[in-house]
């Protein structure tokens, strides 16, 4: 893992892109990219169209267009009120796990990455290699041991069983190590030390500010990872009251797909609408956070 600094979102914000701004637009390129655009958006449009259909239309009208009646709001109402409004509870859980988990993960990764990049301590390289190796172990296969260990410390079926693993982001650590190497000049640290500042104070007052764009980027990626986390919560949670959206929606799906015991509710509509509702906040978060990491990722002066 040498010389990967350029891979980071660590980008100097002072450069101008005037050279590129002057070139004319290419219609061919735009058309080719419109194909990519359609590829990315088509499934989402399908979801929107079908979440807007009545249950009767769902199984009887063309998939890529809206049904006879526009049922989206009725479906949203049904989704939010089904099983005493458990969807909202799941939604709240997902927000809790994502905000606390991703926030914590980004913070830990930032501090840890800073330590690896800016301090020379024995075992530094070995520890880093160990963390990267940890990513290669399939999480699904560790599920049973994780469950048994969590059970031993008594956190199975509590939010902690989801939150604690969410705090660990090896990818975030990797990213921040690369980012910190560039973003925090050694000279600033040296002069702060000469001024007699303590290491923690240097981190808090100087480094953290410089690391902010990287922090936001890691936060964003961790947010997505936690929001979409499915497998671990599925294993460690039993009580639907603690489910995140992904597990809850899948439970509805399983319910729709089985009738061997009990009344199979017609929940397809709820699953589609629930899926739609579950991705909206992330897309909004992207759009909002976009401004932040745009300043981190790209050069400030270029508004293409």
């Amino acid at each position: 893992m040498t010389a990967v600094a350029e891979a980071s979102p660590a980008v100097d914000a002072h450069r101008s892109r005037s050279a590129r701004r002057r070139r004319g637009k290419s219609p061919t390129l735009t058309v080719i990219m419109l194909v990519m655009f359609a590829y990315a958006v088509l499934p989402l449009f399908w979801l929107l169209a079908n979440a807007s259909k009545s249950g009767a239309d769902l199984f009887s009208t063309f998939g890529l267009w809206f049904g006879g009646d526009f049922h989206l709001f009725a479906n949203i109402g049904d989704t939010l009120s089904y099983q005493n409004g458990i969807f909202l509870r799941w939604f709240g859980n997902t927000v809790l796990y994502s905000v606390v988990g991703a926030g914590g993960a980004a913070l830990l990764a930032t501090i840890g990455g800073y330590a690896l990049a800016k301090y020379d301590f024995p075992g530094r390289k070995a520890l880093f290699a160990m963390v990267l190796g940890g990513i290669s172990i399939p999480g699904t296969a560790l599920a049973v041991p994780t469950y048994l260990l969590f059970s031993r410390i008594g956190i199975v079926d509590t939010p902690w069983a989801v939150l604690i693993p969410a705090l660990c982001s090896p990818f975030g650590l990797y990213l921040m190590r690369v980012y910190a190497a560039d973003a925090v000049p050694d000279s600033i640290l040296e002069s702060a030390r000469i001024d007699g500042a303590g290491e923690f104070r240097i981190f808090r007052t100087i480094a953290l500010r410089l690391l902010a764009p990287g922090f936001v980027t890691v936060l964003l990626f961790s947010l997505v990872a936690t929001w979409n986390n499915y497998f671990l919560p599925l294993i460690v949670l039993n009580t639907p009251d603690w489910f995140p959206l992904t597990v809850g929606l899948n439970q509805w799906n399983a319910q729709a797909n089985s009738g061997t015991s009990g009344a199979g509710d017609a929940t397809y509509q709820l699953i589609l609408t629930g899926s739609l509702l579950s991705i909206v906040p992330l897309i909004v978060a992207f759009l909002v956070l976009q401004r932040f990491w745009q300043s981190g990722l790209a050069t400030g002066s270029v508004k293409q």
Binding site: S151, G154, Q251, S261, A266
Partner: protein
């Protein structure tokens, strides 16, 4: 067929009379269950009046209403109802929690096919020790036989799924076909449906649904899985006569593409069921709910008939699906857990609620024999009194079927073997042989003595 139905009806009435006579004698438990320790039975009686808190895992939609009725009647006992997942998902959690030593519920829903596995590894309480044997006569014989395994009573039957043929009356009428009474007639009907429109099929078979095929083999008179003692099993998917009968019929149906190897419960499948692409559904008596809820537009088009037979002179039926309610040994209040499980599945108010509010097909005679249940015409089914057909289907279930003590795993690899032949074409007998081989390998690895053939 007529005469069979009548005989079955008489038999059912008889068994009610017998049950009435035998009421209160108690202790007539599972096969060789030892007489319950009186103190434990007494503890169960007392438990309902003492404060307790129980966690109950169930994925039945609507069962919260039945639980609420229990709460109203016994406010001392607080029930935490948890939906911990469907079927195999829940078993995984249950087994992991039991292994971990904490986190398991007091009471859990377990399907009949999985119960022997839990019973063998002592992961559920032998309820015979708590006097549950006395309940035997309250339940349909086919239901009780499925909880009285390994010489004990490991669950209280909750619902059953005696098999029946749900068919699209409109399609059969249009093509002037009589609903088939035998499998030979079924094949003929399938050919007519296919000839009318090559895109249509008489039915589907799910390459991933081991339970469906298990049930059809059961219905064909087969007993390919047997357990004797604690550690020896026999698997005879190659030589069992019932299996052979099923193979010959379904090799024809699949070979001539008269049935669609379409996974069930999918979007495509429901659409096919709604559009008339599929003319019948051979399944458990719990099916009406799914049909009514998922394809409401087919109202008035469906009817129910008994399963097609291999030998019309010796009609046989099987169970498909259905669950029991078991008590987990980790429970801190086993007597209360047993009392709850018993009330939930045998109290007249509870079983009525399970049927009408949770949509379960009953396991208890009190309901199966109730004229209000049996003779109710169902509007969705064109006014047919379908519970008569389904109730008789329950009585006709062939006794003697057994599941393996590791059926959950065996069923999970069904799709790797038999499912391949169903989906991709190929000889079912050879596919069953490869299923047998994988089951045998697993059983041997797990320390069982596996005999086969």
């Amino acid at each position: 067929m007529r005469s069979f139905v009548r005989t079955a009806g008489v038999a059912a009435a008889l068994s009610v009379a017998l049950a009435a006579c035998g009421g209160g004698s108690g202790g007539s438990g599972g096969a060789s269950a030892p007489a319950a320790a009186p103190s434990k039975s007494a503890a169960v009686q007392d438990a309902l009046s003492k404060p307790a808190e129980l966690t109950f895992w169930s994925w039945v939609t609507g069962i919260e209403k039945t639980v609420a009725r229990f709460q109203a009647k016994y406010p001392n006992i607080k029930i935490n109802l948890v939906n911990a997942g469907q079927s195999a998902d829940q078993y995984t959690k249950l087994q992991t929690a039991i292994k971990a030593g904490s986190g398991a519920p007091d009471v859990a829903q377990i399907e009949y096919f999985a119960l022997p596995q839990f019973a063998l590894s002592k992961q559920v309480v032998n309820l015979a020790d708590y006097g549950a044997g006395a309940l035997k006569d309250k339940f349909a014989a086919s239901a009780w036989a499925q909880v009285a395994v390994n010489g004990g009573v490991y669950g209280i039957p909750q619902d059953t799924g005696p098999m029946a043929m749900f068919y699209r009356k409109d399609i059969f009428d249009k093509l002037k076909i009589e609903p088939p009474k035998t499998w030979a007639e079924f094949v003929e009907a399938a050919k007519k449906i296919k000839a009318d429109n090559p895109d249509n099929f008489i039915t589907t078979i799910d390459p991933g649904d081991a339970g469906g095929v298990d049930s059809m083999i059961w219905q064909a008179g087969g007993t390919p899985f047997k357990t004797s003692g604690e550690s020896s099993v026999s698997v005879t998917l190659g030589s069992d006569p019932g299996v052979k009968q099923w193979v010959s019929t379904w090799n024809t149906l699949l070979g001539e593409k008269l049935v669609d190897p379409q996974p069930g419960w999918t979007d495509d499948w429901w659409k096919g069921m709604g559009s008339g692409k599929y003319a019948t559904w051979l399944t458990g008596a719990w099916a009406p709910n799914g049909i009514v809820n998922s394809i409401p537009k087919t109202k008035g088009k469906w009817a129910v008939a008994p399963m097609p037979q291999f030998d019309a002179a010796k009609p046989m039926n099987a169970e498909n699906g259905g669950s029991s309610v078991a008590v987990i040994p980790q429970s801190k209040n086993i007597p209360a857990a047993v009392a709850f499980a018993e009330w939930l599945n045998s109290d007249p108010e509870a079983v009525k609620s399970l049927n009408t509010e949770a949509g379960l097909f009953p396991a208890t005679k009190v309901l199966l024999d109730d004229p209000a249940f049996r003779d109710a015409p169902l509007e969705f089914f064109g006014g047919q009194k379908i519970n008569q057909v389904l109730g008789d289907a329950s009585t006709a279930v062939r006794p003697g079927w057994q599941y393996l003590p590791f059926q959950v795993y065996a069923n999970s690899i069904f799709k790797d073997t038999v499912g391949q032949a169903i989906d991709g074409g190929g000889d079912l007998a050879a596919a069953l042989k490869s299923w047998q081989d994988r089951i045998t390998a697993f059983g041997t690895e797990q320390g069982f003595t596996v005999s086969g053939g």
